[in-house]
Structure formats: structure tokens, C-alpha cells
Amino acid sequence: MSQSLSKTPSGAESPGASSSSGAAAPPPKPSNSFLTKALARPEIGAFLAAVVIYIFFFIVAPPFRDAASFSTVLYASSQVGIVAVAVGALMIGGEFDLSAGVASITYGLTAALMCYQLSVNMWLGVIVSLVLALFIGFINGYLVQRTGIPSFLITLGTFFILQGCNLGVTKLLTGSVATKNVSDIEGFDSAKSIFASSFDIGSVSVKITVVWWLLFVAIASWILTRTRIGNWIFAVGGNAASARAVGVPVNKVKIGLFMGVGFMAWFYGMHLLFAFNTIQAGQGVGQEFIYIIAAVVGGTLLTGGFGSAIGTAIGAFIFGMVTQGIVYAGWDPNWFKAFLGVMLLLAVAVNLYVKKLSSTRKA
């Protein structure tokens, strides 16, 4: 049938436009140059910012140049990045989780208090707190889907509930706001080797969380871009009604994403417990925003449907570089929050521009 609305394709065949599948899959009509393709990536803004910030601190802060410092930067990045990668995926799916910061503390406390009070093997506490983490994630997601109340409000509620319980329960059981040292409980050492050990590469000591972080980012990236579930995550965030209409199980996807955040928050909670042997019940407040900022700086759209795991990782890396860089440069660390705010505003502006570009007609 002759088409009135089809336009003659522009004949420009550029060989540089390689498809993201990496294989020799020639896209049917490679019409975009490598540059335009790169500019369409969610993480491009964050990547350029990371390069600039790295060069900046490389120049102004001599200690920043050491390999050991870089390892410290990576450790700081991983502490944000582990939970942020799940929060970023949740945001791509169109939801927020404000309870992710204090939830880590809840899970750390659960394991610590249970093992200390009941004198059981550390691993039992680890498993019980994992079950709790998945359960709280499920409840968050279930309430959001069941009530239709924005996740911002639901998880704000969970945030305060968990924060109150953290302090209340800890005070009730121990009489103070911190758990007792759990380092002589059976199973502590093996759990520590998983969650909070470090190893040497040459003369540089690297924390194991860095490895876990990179692994989680790789897994999340693969899920988001290569699997059907990833396709569904983008769809439920981009247009939940459309997704539901073509048979995507929207509720299950969203609840799964909340449980993913629960899992990562649990992992970070375990890291805190096994790195410091004790948990301060009042910690974690404010972390939830750091995660969201990492995701947004990394190119995740606040309204959902767009973003990447690698972008969120770069966002976390920028966070790590700046927190450590300011220290290495010998400046007052209090400036850090101001910097973070500026980064967020810039990122939001860049994201808005990207969304405009990608929704403008060019066919």
C-alpha cells in the first residue's frame, strides 16, 4: 500500500552507529552517528561531569592522585552505589523509596540485636534480617499498588516508622541507642569476610564492597537492558497504563523493584554491622536522598521510564569522588552538601533537555 505519511529515509548510512547488543547486529537503518547515539544515552551527562570532577581534584588535591586514595574513593562510592543501583531501578519503574536509608539500619539492628539477645549464630541473624528486608520491601510495594497513594508518601510513612522503631526497640532492649559489640559471636568472622573484608591489589587495599557494587551494577544493567523484566521495568515507569494493557504484570514488577531495594538496603546494613561490629540506631537518616540524587545525577528521569544502572553507578562515583576529594584538598567538608545540591539541579536540567530531545519528532 502506498504510504502517504512515510518519509523518504535519508540515505546517510554511517558505519559508526554500532548497536548496543555488541554483536555484529547491523541495525536496519543506521542513520545516527556515533555522537548522536552517545548523546541519547542516559548517563552521558554524568559521565562528562565525572571526568571533569576527576580532572579537577586531580589538579587541586595532590593526595587525590594516589592509588590508595582512589581505592578510598571507590569505597565511598560503593557505600552509596550498592543501594542506589536498586533505588535507581525503582525510579526507572516510576516509584520512590524514601525508607531505603533507615531501612539499612533496621536490618543491621535486627541481626545484631537478635544474635546478641538470643545468643544465636550470626548467620541466623543475617538470614532473618534478609527475610525482614524483603518483607518490608514487599509491604511498601503492596501498599503503593493497593492504595494508589504515591510511593513518595507511603515510603515516607515507612521511613518514619522504621526510624522510630530503630531507636525505640534498641533503647528497650539494650538501654542505649547502639547495639553491643557482636564481634565474638559465632559466625561473625565468616559473615565479615563476605560483607566487610578487604583485599590487596599490589600495595593498595581494596574493600570488598567495591567488588560487590560493581557486580550488582553489572547484574542490574544486564537485567534492565537485556531481559524481558528490564523491558517491563522501563514500561511500567514510562506508561503504566500502556504496559498493563499489553499484558505486563505492572503490580508484580513494581513490588519486585521495592523488594530489590529491600535486598540492597539489607546488604548495606550487613556491611555496616560487620565493618563496625555495632550499629548506631539513629543513623541512616538522609541517606535516602543521596541514593535518589545518585540516580538522578546518573540520568534517571524523576518521572520514571528512563535511566540506567551504569548512570546511577557514575552518580555514586561522583558522590565518592567529591566527598573524598574535598577532604584531600583540605577544604571544609561542610561545603559538600552545597555541591551536591548544585549537581542535582544541573542533572535535572540536563535530564529535562534529554527528554525533550527524545520526544521530539524526527521520523
Binding site: 505519511l5 523518504t8 547488543s21 523491558n231 514500561a235 497504563a241 498493563r244 499484558g247 520526544s359 521530539t360
Partner: protein, 274 residues
């Protein structure tokens, strides 16, 4: 474009064979009755047009057929078997695909991802099995070309296509995935004349390939171009139900414009004058 239809339409379909039968179907949202007493039959190779003004119950009717909302009264039969859909997936499994006017696609996702959304090709049954991305890209591109939609790049976000193209992608997708009944929700409402023409041609082609089409619109001119059977809804009730041979475009237009009420009103006004 008819290639797509001939290849993917169910070959067992026989013209006129009823695919969907609604008997006295109604839907109440709590105390509010949105729809009642609907008798409707969708036959293979036929276009059943459902016309009505805003709030006439068209959307509710679509939602019942597409599985978004279950009906609360009457019986709904698909292929002679009584069903009660709990989700769009169930309707899709019965071969009923709906193309919505405004929510047919996810704007920020690539064209090929939209084409396969909800029915992705994976290389295994397990939950995180990788998708066959290369194959999906190629299929989507070929199918769209058959329809005459030339997209610059199958990897571009579908939001960058025109409204008519998006609608056609959604229809092509439904047909490719073996739809036997195609529900088109106001497919021409937001389109210009040329683009409407493209969508109408494709609707007619789907009919000729043996699919049952439910064409929802408030435009009697578009309906009359492709329809075999016309139903007009008003305030949740059926006010007209005629075959193409029994009705003219003028009648349809007049009825849509509120013809009966106007006639009654003019009658009343005349009798009071005497």
C-alpha cells in the same frame, strides 16, 4: 501490508463466525451503572462500529472486552465459551487485542521494544533469560516496512513517531501477535485526514484478512467507511443496532447528533403551538 495480515491472521477464521457475543451485558461501578443491557456480536471478517458521545459507555464497553474491568451483569462469550476476564492478559490469551487511542505505546521506549512489549522473545523460559534483541529488531523493522511505515531507525523512541504511525505500530503489533479480535479505541480521533485514511485502510485490511474488528469512534463518517454493523450508545444504553444494509450515513449522523431527542422536541413544540 496485507502480507502481515495474511501471514499472521488465524487461518481457521471464517467470515461471519461470531467471535465475541455479549448478552445483556452491564457494568456497575458501585451504585453507578455505566452500562446496561448490551447485546453485541463481533463476527470474523466484520467491523462492528460502536458509536457514542462522550460518557455514552464506549470506554466501559472496551474495558470489559479487553479485560481491564470485569462485567457485573449478563454473559460474555468468546468462541461460544462463557468468560469473565480478570486481566488484559486473559483477554490477550483469548486473542482479543486492544489498541488504545492515547495509551497504545510507551513514548520513551524504542520502537522495537514497544512492538514486543509484553510478548518479548527470550532465549529461555527462566525469569532472567536474555531477550533475542537482534531478532526482535529485525522482525519489528520488517513488519513495519510491510505496513509501509518507514521509521528512520527502529531504535528511536516511539514518542518521536507521528500519531498515525504510532497507531499503526500498535495495530501491526496486535495483528503480529495473533489477534483474532481487534478493538480499536478512537483510532482516528487525534489524527489528521491523511493519517486517518491510513488507519482506516489498515482497519479494512484487517477485516478482509478475517479478523473481527470493534471500531470505537464518535465519527459516523469514519465508521461508515469501514463498518458492517453499527451500534450507537447513549448514557450506557444501546439506542441503535443496525446492519449496514439497514442504515444510511444520514441516519447515523442524525442519531449521533441526538436526532431522536430533536425530533421529539420539535414534535412537542409544534403540539403546544396548536
Amino acid at each position: 501490508m496485507t502480507d502481515t495480515l495474511n501471514e499472521h491472521a488465524d487461518p481457521t477464521l471464517e467470515k461471519g463466525e461470531p467471535l465475541i457475543q455479549m448478552d445483556n451485558v452491564g457494568k456497575a461501578y458501585g451504585a453507578i451503572r455505566a452500562l446496561s443491557g448490551i447485546n453485541l456480536s463481533v463476527g470474523a471478517g466484520e467491523v462492528t462500529c460502536v458509536l457514542g458521545d462522550n460518557g455514552a459507555g464506549k470506554s466501559t464497553l472496551i474495558k470489559i472486552m479487553s479485560g481491564l474491568h470485569g462485567h457485573t451483569e449478563g454473559t460474555l462469550k468468546v468462541d461460544g465459551e462463557e468468560v469473565h476476564f480478570g486481566s488484559p492478559r486473559e483477554a490477550l490469551d483469548h486473542g482479543i487485542a486492544t489498541v488504545y487511542q492515547d495509551l497504545a505505546v510507551v513514548g520513551l521506549m524504542e520502537v522495537w521494544r514497544n512492538f514486543f512489549l509484553g510478548s518479548e522473545l527470550t532465549s529461555g523460559k527462566y525469569p532472567l533469560a536474555p531477550m533475542k534483541i537482534k531478532e526482535m529488531r529485525e522482525i519489528a523493522d520488517t513488519e513495519l516496512k510491510k505496513m509501509g511505515i518507514t521509521v528512520k531507525d527502529i531504535n528511536q523512541p516511539i514518542g518521536t513517531l507521528s500519531g498515525g504511525q504510532r497507531q499503526c505500530v500498535a495495530i501491526a503489533r496486535a495483528v503480529y501477535f495473533g489477534a483474532r479480535v481487534l478493538i480499536l479505541d478512537e483510532p482516528t480521533a487525534a489524527l489528521g485526514v491523511k493519517q486517518s485514511g491510513v488507519v482506516l485502510k489498515y482497519t479494512a485490511a484487517a477485516r478482509d484478512a478475517g479478523l473481527g474488528v470493534v471500531f470505537i469512534t464518535h465519527n459516523p463518517h469514519h465508521a461508515y467507511l469501514v463498518g458492517n454493523h453499527f451500534i450507537i450508545l447513549k448514557l450506557g444504553r444501546r439506542v441503535l443496532d443496525k446492519k449496514r444494509s439497514e442504515v444510511t450515513l444520514e441516519e447515523l449522523t442524525a442519531e449521533m447528533a441526538g436526532g431522536r431527542e430533536l425530533a421529539e422536541l420539535s414534535h412537542e413544540l409544534q403540539s403546544t403551538q396548536r
